[in-house]
Symmetry: C3
Subunit: 345 residues, 3 copies
C-alpha cells in the first residue's frame, strides 16, 4: 500500500527535509517502512530506541535517524534532530490521494448556483454543496459529502467521502475531515415543562480553526447560542463527541471515543486519552493530560497528568475487590475506630 | 449565526408565548443571546440564578424572566413562570432551517415509484427513498439520506443530511434525526457452533415514537425477532448505541456516548448521563437517573440516582490508590482480623 | 416484520437444517418468533432453559429444540443438538433483504470505467465505485455507499446504505458492513515539533478477512505503514473504534462501543464486552474475555476473564465510597501500621 504515482528519489526526500545527503540521491523510492521490513526501494526511520536493535540489519535504501546513531547505520543515512518529525514530513510525499485529485466538479455533484468555488477545487461524485457555501482554493469534497447552506471551508481543506458539514459552519484552512464525521449537528438542548421535553433550536454554529483534523464518525455539535469553537491545530480522533458550546484550545489532541459535555472549556496543548469523559461546564487549563477512560467531573486548574478508574485484572480477583469497593466507607470508618482504640490503650 | 430570514418582532415573540408585553412590540428582533452578550436587536433570558448578576447591565431588546426578577430588569420584560421553557419555544422562531424548506423533490433524488409522499414533503439532493416507503406531510429528507424499503416516517419529521433509515422502520411524527445516525442496522446476533459464528438474521424492526430526537452518528439497531422500541418524546444525544430489542420509555433522555446492550428495558422519565453503559437483559424502572460513565450490570427497581466509578485525580496520587484497589479484598480481610484481635484482647 | 417474499414451508426449514421432520411439512411458515409469541404460521425455538416454562403452551407451527425436550413439546418438533445455531441458520431464510436484491447497476450510481464487477453484482442508487475497484460476484453496494480507489471486495459481501470504504482496502468474502461504518479512514498519527502537530500520512491499508461483520457507525482506521488486520469471522458491533495497525485474530467478537488503540494485537476467539478500552501496543492472547467497560492497560498473556471498574450503586452510598477511593493508599498504610503495632504488643 505504500506507493506513489510518480517516482520519488532520495534527492527529493533530502530536499523536502532540507538535509544534506551523500549517497546515491537518484535512487527511486517506492515508500516508507520500518527498519525491519524496509526493502532496498524504501526509506526507514529510527525514532524510538526500542527499534535500535533493527538498525544493523536493515536493508532500507536509507535511514532517517538522529546524528548520534549515524555511525551504526549500515546504509545511507538522512540525519535529523527529530526523525519522527522527519518521517511525518516525508510521509506526505507518498500519499496516493494527493496524486489523484483532479480539479473540477463531477457531473453528478450538486452545487448551488450561488456557491463560491476557489481555484482548483475538487468536488467528487454525488457530493452536495448547498446555497451560500464558499469553498477556498484547492478544497477537496469527497464522494457523497454534503456541505450545508452558508458554510465556508478554507483553502486546502479536504473532506473525505460521506462527510456532513451542516449549515452555517466555518472551517479553517488545511482542515481534514475523515469519512462519516458530522460537523454542526444540533446540540442536545431541551427544556422540560414538568411533563416532557421542548427542543431548544440550536442557533449557534461551529468554528474549526486552521489545521484541525477530525476522525471517522466523530461529531461536533453546533452551539445553542454562541458557537462551538475548536482552535487551530487541534487533532480529534475517531468516534469522538464534542457537545454544544465546547471550546478547545490550539494544539490539543483528543484520542478516540472521547466525550465532552456542553460548554466545557479545554485549554491549549491538552491531551485527552481514549474514552475520556469530561462533564459539562468545566474548565480544563492549558497543558493538562488525562489518561484513557478517565472521568473528569471537576475543573482542572493545574497542568499535569490526571487519571481515574482502575486497570483490568483477573475476574475472580476483581469480583472480590469490587464488592469491597461498596464497603469502602465502612472500612474507612472501622479503621478510624481501631486507630482510636489503639491510641487510647 | 442567530438569524432568521424574515423579520420577527417582539410582538411575534410575546404572541408565540401568549404573554402580555407592554414595550415597543414592533421592534424587529434578530435573534437570541445571553444577558451579557445580547445587543439591542436580541432577546435575552434569565433561567439560572447564576446569571442574575448580568441582568442589571444587559443591553437586550427584552428579557424573558420569572416575574420575581421583573423589578430588577433595566429593559422591557417578557415575564413567564418557566423562562427556560419560554426560551426553548421562541428559539424555534429563529431556526434558519425552517425558512429554507422548499417543498418538492430534488431532480437528483431517487424516489421509488410506489413510495407515498405526503403533502409538502421536501426531498433534497441525492436522497434515496426506496420501494414501499411512506412519508407523512411536511417530512424533510436531507441531502444524501436514505430511507430503506417499507419504512414509514410520520408527519413533520426531519432527517438531516446523510441519515440512514434501514428497511422496515416505523418513525413517528415530529421526529428529528441528526446527520450520520443509523436507524435499523442489524443487531449483533450470532450463534456459535464451537468453531465460529453464524449470523442470526435480524428480522425485527425499530419503532420510534412521536417527538423522538436522535443525535449525530448514533445508532439504533433493529430487533432480532420483535422490534426495538423507543417511546414518545425520548431524546437521544450523539454517539449513542442502542442494541437490538431494547425498550425505552416515554420522555427519557440519553446523553452522548451512552451504550445499551440487547433486550434491556429502560423506563419512562429516565436520564442517563454521558457514557453510561447498561448491560443486556436488565430492567431499569421509571424515574432512574444514572450519572456519567457509570456501568450498570444489575436491574434497578427503585427510582433514584445511581453512580459508579471514581473521578479523576492527580496521576501520582491515583497510581498509589489504584494499586491499592487490587489489594482491597486483602485489606478488608486484614481489617476484620485486627478487629477480631482487638475485641478478644 | 418477520416475513419473506416467497412461501417457505416446514419442509424447506427441515431440509435447510438437514433434520428429519414428521409433521405436516407442507405448512407455509411466515416467520420466527419466541415460544410465547409464535402463532400457528411461525416456528419457535427453545435455546435457553429459562424459556422452558413457555414450551407447554406454545402455539407455534413447530419448535426447534434439543432432543431432551422433545417429549414436552405440544406441537411438531425440529430436533437438533444446538437449537440456537439452528435458529441462526433458518433465520436467514426469512431475511427480506435477500429477496430484494436485483442484480445490476442503478442509473444514478457512479462506477469508474476501470472498475471490475463480478457476476450478479448489485449497485444501488447514488452509490459510488471509484477507479481501480474490484467487486466479487454477488456483492451488494447499498444506496449512497462509496468504495474508494483500488479497493477490493470479495464474493457475496454486502455494504448496506451509506457505508464508506476508503481507498486501498481489501475486504474478504461474505463480509457485512452496516450503514454508517467507515473502513480505512486515516489513523491518528501526528509528530510534534515542540510547537504543534505534523500529520503522518497513513500509508497502510485495512484488510478484513472472510465472514467479518462491522456494525453501524463503527470505524476501522488504516495503518500508518503496514495494514490494520481483521481476521476471518471477526464480529464487530456498532460504535466500535479500531485504531491503526491493530490486529484482531479469527473468530473474535467485539461488542458495542469498544475502543482499541494503535498497534494492539488481539488474539483469536477473544470476546470484548461493550465499552471495553484497550490501550495501544498491547498483546492480548487467544481466548481472552474482557467484561463490559473494563480498561486494559497491560498485555494479557493468559486466557481467562478480565474485568475492571465497579458496578453502579445508589448515588448517596457511592459518594461516600468514591471519596474513600482517594484515601485508599492512606488507608492501606494506616492498616499496615496498626498491624505492626498489634504484632509488637
Amino acid at each position: 500500500m505504500t506507493h506513489a504515482s510518480h517516482p520519488i528519489t532520495l534527492a527529493d526526500i533530502a530536499r523536502h527535509l532540507d538535509i544534506a545527503f551523500d549517497g546515491d540521491a537518484s535512487r527511486p523510492i517506492r515508500g516508507l517502512a520500518t527498519l525491519k521490513e524496509a526493502g532496498p526501494d524504501q526509506v526507514a526511520f529510527l525514532a524510538n530506541r526500542a527499534y535500535l536493535k533493527d538498525l544493523a540489519s536493515t536493508r532500507a535504501a536509507a535511514v532517517l535517524l538522529h546524528p548520534e546513531h549515524g555511525k551504526n547505520c549500515p546504509v545511507p543515512r538522512l540525519e535529523t534532530e527529530n526523525p519522527y518529525l522527519g518521517y511525518a514530513r516525508i510521509s506526505q510525499l507518498f500519499d496516493p490521494l494527493r496524486a489523484r485529485d483532479v480539479p473540477g466538479v463531477h457531473d453528478t455533484a450538486v452545487v448551488a448556483e450561488d456557491a463560491v468555488l476557489g481555484e482548483g477545487v475538487v468536488i467528487q461524485a454525488n457530493a452536495v454543496i448547498e446555497s451560500g457555501v464558499t469553498l477556498g482554493a484547492h478544497v477537496v469534497v469527497g464522494a457523497g459529502s454534503v456541505v450545508g447552506a452558508d458554510s465556508s471551508i478554507g483553502d486546502g481543506s479536504r473532506l473525505h467521502a460521506n462527510v456532513t458539514v451542516c449549515h452555517g459552519v466555518v472551517i479553517g484552512k488545511r482542515v481534514v475531515l475523515q469519512s462519516g464525521c458530522v460537523i454542526g449537528g444540533d446540540g442536545f438542548g431541551f427544556a422540560h415543562d414538568g411533563a416532557g421535553w421542548h427542543k431548544i433550536a440550536q442557533l449557534g454554529g461551529v468554528v474549526l480553526g486552521d489545521d484541525v483534523e477530525v476522525g471517522s464518525c466523530s461529531s461536533i455539535d453546533r452551539g445553542a447560542l454562541g458557537d462551538t469553537l475548536i482552535g487551530c491545530d487541534v487533532k480529534i480522533d475517531s468516534q469522538v463527541q464534542i457537545a454544544h458550546n465546547v471550546t478547545i484550545g490550539d494544539h490539543s489532541a483528543l484520542a478516540g471515543c472521547v466525550g465532552i459535555a456542553g460548554s466545557t472549556r479545554v485549554g491549549k496543548h491538552c491531551m485527552l486519552g481514549g474514552g475520556v469523559g469530561l462533564s459539562g461546564h468545566l474548565t480544563i487549563c492549558d497543558g493538562v493530560q488525562v489518561t484513557g477512560m478517565s472521568l473528569v467531573t471537576n475543573s482542572i486548574l493545574e497542568p499535569g497528568v490526571y487519571s481515574s478508574g482502575t486497570g483490568a485484572m483477573n475476574n475472580t480477583q476483581w469480583r472480590k475487590n469490587a464488592v469491597r469497593f461498596k464497603q469502602l466507607d465502612d472500612i474507612a470508618k472501622r479503621l478510624n475506630k481501631l486507630e482510636k482504640n489503639s491510641r487510647s490503650e
